[in-house]
Structures are given as C-alpha cells and as structure tokens.
C-alpha cells in the first residue's frame, strides 16, 4: 500500500519535472524545486515504511531541512529580475 502511494507521488514528481523544464519565470522553476523537496520527504517516509528501513526517516528529516535552505538562498541571493527567462 505505501509503495503504491510512493509510486503515485513519484508520478507527481515527474509531472512537476515537466513543469520545471517549461515554467516561464525563475520563481516558477524554484517553486518546482521546493515541490520536489516536500514531495521527496513524503516519498522517503513511505519508502522507509515499505522497505522496513527506519533510517530513511533521518534522510527525510535532512531533506526537509535543506530544501528550505536552498529556497532561502534563492529568495535572498539569486532572484534579481522579475521578468521572463532572464538572458
């Protein structure tokens, strides 16, 4: 059951990957990376249950923390122009 839900979440990730390759502004691409972070936490927790590996929960914790750091770094340092795909 949990592996099936993990597969469904991975399908969501693939759909978001297409959106990341297409998205018009830099912020949309960064939001896709953040979506990968939160959905990746869910997939890792589900895998920890499905494969009976409790240490994967630690990986999920690290991922939840560090995806936020990447998001903050984007908002504070990398995002300079509001327009379309910057040259």
């Amino acid at each position: 059951m949990s592996l099936a839900v993990a597969l469904f979440l991975l399908l969501n990730l693939v759909a978001a990957l297409v959106a990341a390759a297409r998205g018009p502004t830099p912020a949309d691409r960064m939001l896709t990376a953040l979506l990968f972070g939160s959905t990746g936490v869910g997939v890792l927790v589900l895998l920890a249950h499905a494969m009976a590996l409790p240490s994967l929960v630690d990986v999920a914790l690290t991922l939840a923390l560090l995806a936020a750091i990447a998001g903050i770094a984007f908002a504070r340092r990398a995002w300079h122009s509001a327009g379309q795909a910057d040259d």
Partner: protein
C-alpha cells in the same frame, strides 16, 4: 481497524499531494503557485505522516515520524514568506483575473 485508518490517511495525503502538483502546474502566477505549494503539500505530508505513524512499530518511531511535520511546516512557512516578500519587492503584480494576455 488501525491499519484501515492508516491506509485511508495515506490515500487522503496522496490526494492533497496531487492537488498541490496540479496547482503548481495550472495556477497563473507566483503567489497562487506559492499558495498551492505551501498549503496543499504540507497538508498531504501531514496526512501521510499520520497514516504511517498509526502503522508504526513502536511509540518512539511514531513520534519521530510526527516530529517531521512541525519541521516541514516551519521550513515551508519561512521559505514562502521569503519568496513572496522578494516577489513583492521585485514588483511582481498579483494575477487580477481578467487581464490574461
């Protein structure tokens, strides 16, 4: 009974994750996409974590699973605030509905 409730919570969480992804793909501008990402995905994560904590082996494992959720909530709130603040400072206009070009 508990396993049934856990599976039901997993399905609800998967639905909210799906809603978040659809919102990210379909919504028109940065603020609305941030809205879908910050709320729907964290609700999905909470449901999935609760469903897995119901099926966990021990109380410690269940509590550890449930501890991920406040961390994800705090991180998501901080990132959403930073990105929305930066978007407003850069002059990104919120989507008004009728002026679609």
């Amino acid at each position: 009974m508990i396993e049934l409730a856990g599976n039901l919570l997993l399905l609800i969480g998967a639905f909210f994750y799906f809603a978040g992804t659809v919102g990210l793909v379909r919504f028109p501008d940065v603020y609305t996409r941030l809205h879908a990402l910050a709320k729907a995905d964290n609700l999905g994560l909470g449901c999935v974590l609760a469903g897995l904590a119901l099926q966990a082996d021990s109380l410690a494992a269940a509590l550890k699973l449930l501890l991920i959720w406040p961390l994800a909530l705090a991180a998501s709130a901080a990132v959403s605030y930073a990105i929305a603040n930066r978007a407003q400072a850069l002059g990104v206009r919120p989507w008004q509905g009728e002026e679609r070009s």
